[in-house]
Every structure is written in C-alpha cells, then in structure tokens.
Symmetry: C2
Subunit: 245 residues, 2 copies
C-alpha cells in the first residue's frame, strides 16, 4: 500500500477517473505501487525538459501545464484534474517535454513510478487504451487553447478558464489570485481585473482576495466562447466518468 494512505483515509485511488476506469485485475495490480502524495500550491510537478520519475493521478487538485518563455512570459497549455494524469511524455516515449507542470489548486494525487507505468503500459491493453484516449482529449484542449488565444477576448478566456477549472474541482469556488490567473492566461493582471470586474458586475461571480465563487454558472456558460464546449464535449466523448471537461 502507498505509505500515506493511513494518514488520509478519505482518499481512494478511484477518485481519479482513469484509475477508476481500469478493469479490476489491472487496478489491483497497480494498487500496491500507488502512493498518495500531497501537491501543494505552486509546486512544480515537473520542469521544462526535466526527467520524469513519476506520473501523477490527481484526485482533488488541479495541475496546469504551462510554457514559460525566455523573457518570462508564460501561457497555460492545458489543465489536468481528476479526469487525467500528469506526465504523458513517459508513455509517449519522449521522456520529457518543453513545458512545466505547476500545481494550481492544492490537493492530493496518486503517484506511480515511471518504471512501473511504462511496464504496465506495455502489458495492459485497457490501461494503454485509456491513457491514449486521455492523451487525445488533452490534445483537443491544447488545440482549442491555441485557437482561443488567437481569437477570443480576455473576458471569454477567463470564463473558459473558470469553467474548465471548476469542472475539475468538487465545488463552485476556487482559490486563485488574479495575478496567477493572468500568468495562466498569458495576459496582464489588470486585464484579468477588468474582465473579472465585468463578470462580477453582471452577478456571475464573486471575487475577493484570491477567492472566486461562481454565483450563476448557467449565465457564465452563456457568456463563454465555444472553446469550452468543444473541449468538454470531446472529453465527455473520450473519457470515462463523464464528469470532467
């Protein structure tokens, strides 16, 4: 058993949808090697170009994949929660990627050593199919991010980001300063302030010092660009669990 399980009896691996979707035999074989670890806010799960010793299956946390440029400017490429895993480069064969993975909302994840993951990926067809389908959903999210970056306003992108993030948590609130959201979206903090102000004035959200509460999700979904729906639809189609976007 993973060593932290006793300390956190309320966590079980099946909170991660990929693990939950495994056939019983595969799941049981993986179980002894899954280790529950806390992912604190801001932690770099992996660095650009760095070695991946583990993959992480988030339960209640969110991890952002983002790319930081030479001049310090950054942009989020995709976001991963309980519907997926962090570290696809391991089974894709590249071992590393040029992007970083940063914890955006603290919580717990089950980690698995890269060695065991690779072994299981080769041996278990259900696991392999699951991970590849997840990767395709991630690809869709990245592609849509590229399109959204090109064509949509900060306000629309903020709405998309909020909805994608909330789909990965179990509430309608999240803790995140405007500064950090700006880093994720690759825009200025002031731009986020302005966009959030509009949404707040419209009564869709409530913002207060790093704490956002979505008050009217249906209206927020009306205002978001089509990118959110595209990503969600593909995720629902490709992934087990039908919860994640």
């Amino acid at each position: 058993m993973g060593k932290n399980l006793a300390a956190s009896p309320s966590f079980i691996p099946t909170q991660n949808h990929l693990l939950a979707a495994l056939p019983a035999a595969d799941y049981q074989r993986l179980l002894p090697d899954l280790e529950l670890v806390p992912l604190p806010l801001g932690m770099a799960v992996y660095e650009s170009g760095g070695r991946l010793d583990y993959v992480y299956f988030p339960t209640d946390c969110i991890v952002s994949l983002l790319y930081v440029m030479k001049d310090g400017a950054s942009a989020e490429i995709a976001v991963v929660g309980h519907e997926g895993l962090v570290g696809i480069a391991l089974f894709m064969g590249g071992e590393s990627t040029p992007s970083r993975a940063v914890v955006q909302s603290a919580g717990y994840a089950y980690r698995l050593s890269s060695k065991i993951l690779k072994r299981e990926f080769e041996q278990s067809h259900p696991l392999q199919h699951l991970l590849l389908r997840y990767t395709q959903a991630l690809i869709t999210q990245m592609a849509q991010t590229a399109v959204c970056n090109r064509h949509h306003s900060v306000e629309q992108q903020l709405a998309r980001w909020l909805l994608l993030s909330l789909d990965r948590l179990f509430s309608n609130e999240l803790n995140m300063t405007q500064e950090l959201i700006a880093n994720m979206l690759g825009v200025r903090r002031e731009g986020v302030t302005e966009a959030a102000g509009k949404l707040q004035t419209a009564g869709l959200i409530h913002y207060s010092r790093g704490h956002i509460k979505v008050l009217d999700r249906p209206k927020l979904e009306e205002r978001v660009c089509e990118c959110y729906a595209v990503v969600k639809r593909e995720s629902d189609r490709l992934l087990p669990g039908r919860i994640a976007a």
Copy 2:
C-alpha cells in the same frame, strides 16, 4: 502493390520518415497495403468530427491541421509533412477530432486503411513507439502554437510558419497566397501583407503572387521567435531522420 505506383515511379514509401524508420519486417508487411495518392491543394484530408477511413503518410506535401470556428474564423494548430502522418486520432482511440486537415502544399502521400493501421499498431511495437513519439512531437508543436498565438507578432509568426513549412519541403520556395497564410495564422490578409513586406524589404524573402522564395534563411532564423527552435529541437530529438522540424 498500391495502384498508383506504376504511374509515379519516382515515389517510394521511404520518402516518409516514419515509414523509412520501420524495421524491415514491419515495413515489408505494410508495403502491400500502402497506396500512393495525390493530395491536391486545398483538399480536406478529413473534416471536423468526420470518420477517418485512412491515415496519410505525406512524402512531398504539407497538410495543415486547423480549426474553423462557428463564425468562420480559423487557426492552424499544426502542420504535417514527410516527417509524420495525418490521422493520429485513429490509433489514439478517438476515431475523430474536432479539427480539419487541409492540404496546404500539393503532392503525394501514402495512405493506409484505418483497419490495417489499427491492427499493426496493436501488433508492432516498433510502429507503435514510432507513432507515439511522433504524436508527442505534434503535441509540442500544438503547445508552441498556442504560446506563439498569445505572445508574438504577426511578423514573427509568419517567419515561424515559413520556416516550419520549408522544413517539410525540399526547397526554399513555396506556393501560397497571403490570403491563405492569413487563414492559417488566423490573422487578416492585410496583416500578412505588411509582415511579408517588412521581410521583403529586409531582403529575407521574395514574394510574388502566391510564390514565396526565401532568400536569406539564416537571417530569417535570426528574426523568428523562439517557438520555431523549440518545435524543431523537440522534433529532432523525438523523430527519426533528423530532417523535419
């Protein structure tokens, strides 16, 4: 043998780097099912959400993966040439994707039925590894496109696009109107005119009615944003052949 081979004796499957990198046994097994087909300019290799009956291994053509939004605005997500294949959704398990694939530079490709590809993907580890590594390179390109869309000027993006395209052809020239480039980059045609004008004034390229010639590639590489180098480095690292970017 593929039916068009006789008509085009100068084409051989190994012009595609993925096919060329296969072990002899795997290559021979695939060979009878590879069919050389022309891909004319503008052809939609597949449509958004459509069924994929074949995958395509380009030899001397370029295929753009692009996403078209409801309002008609579009953006290129990635570009595929002789280093890769079109249709990764087949072996990733999703069967379809929300993006389109459009021929950007006419030429020939070897196509393989989806049924045979899936069979071989399951049975041949070398093929599987090759395709997954290629997919990771494609992911890098998509991620970098997202970042580039966010932070860089039209001129820089045009330079990136030119270099990525030329890396996939066998010359320093390509046929493409500014209008089409604008569609790919998701910007206005006037913006491309202006950016191309600057590059032309600087003596880096020559532009004339749909025909672009790169006159000074080293200087163009100096002027491009870092995104080009990131994509190229990852492609060189991940892919066989060391030619493609």
